[in-house]
Symmetry: C2
């Protein structure tokens, strides 16, 4: 079965491929093989944004599409940056700009107020209207300053529960084991395997 | 279209009916009209539990089924009681027992450590395998002691953001406006309307 990945973010694409390549008879396609238009993430929940992207791109290409939306929720900020994680500082912001703004907003905040979680929702949409949904989260806290160079987004300032290093210090092997995206994709993987078994 | 509500909780059924009765040509059925077996909520996420229930009951009855799972996540407790909200004190616990345990665990905790959110995930499963998913959350904090008599579950100790009274004091009209379940069901409603329009 062909599955088009509805993301252009190279960091996300790498993580998705590493997890879903374990599904036999699944042929992963990216925007490099099948072009699709950009979809604006206008909704205010991860689920609705993922559904929006998967539905639009599926309609446009006629292929089964996997889309995900994910982000960071800081409890002391009332769940921000949330769905605006990638454009927290401003539209088109770099990871560095977003991180700088986040650290400034948490200046003086103690560990309790630095509690945060990553959330991911993944949706697979099929041309016949069928949908699969998976979700995952990773709890942790926001570090005082960026550390480490692996990963992307807020990884340099996110310390997962049970660790004392940031995701960017822990590296891809550990991140892919514990990440919110992994959990969401594992749920998708199980549902895909079920579907493929049924033929 | 017939839609079987996959819950036996009278509080939830009332809330669901109040929201979904606005959908024209939707005939809501409950366990009193169509019997189904109890489904154990064995998964560790709201989404997976809601999917589990909707799929099993749909398989058993051959009808489109709406199931939801919801609960309370307290940040300082690492997200507990979470999927165990209804059986936090023990299997088959009353609302009072669960609330008593929660207040004891938060004894001495200040407002920051009393931050919490209600989350709800609703799933509609159709006999052809199609699924709709909606989710919602309501942020707030845990009160020092129970107040008010409306609602159910943790409503007497949950103070929504922007209010200074508990959900149980605010009453059903306000709760149904702002609740996590309402948001999840609104998303389901929109998708049902789309489906029904297409015929």
């Amino acid at each position: 079965m062909k599955l088009l990945l509805g993301s252009r973010n190279p960091g996300k694409l790498r993580e998705i491929c590493e997890i879903l390549r374990e599904v036999p008879s699944l042929e992963l396609l990216t925007w490099e093989e099948v072009a699709f238009s950009a979809v604006e993430e206008t909704a205010d929940s991860f689920l609705e944004n993922a559904q929006l992207k998967a539905r639009r791109i599926c309609e446009e290409t006629g292929l089964p599409v996997l889309a995900e939306d994910s982000g960071l929720e800081v409890e002391a900020l009332g769940g921000r940056p949330g769905v605006r994680s990638a454009r927290f500082a401003h539209e088109g912001a770099t990871d560095e700009e977003n991180i700088r703004l986040l650290l400034r907003m948490l200046e003086g905040a103690d560990d309790r107020d630095r509690r945060a979680r990553f959330r991911a929702v993944a949706v697979v949409r099929f041309p016949d209207g069928k949908e699969l949904v998976g979700e995952g989260e990773l709890r942790g806290r926001i570090a005082r300053e960026p550390r480490g160079h692996s990963g992307f987004g807020y990884d340099p300032v996110f310390i997962p529960e049970g660790f004392d290093r940031t995701l960017a210090e822990l590296g891809p092997a550990i991140k892919n084991e514990i990440s919110h995206r992994r959990r969401a994709l594992e749920q998708i993987k199980r549902q895909l395997l079920e579907l493929l078994e049924k033929g």
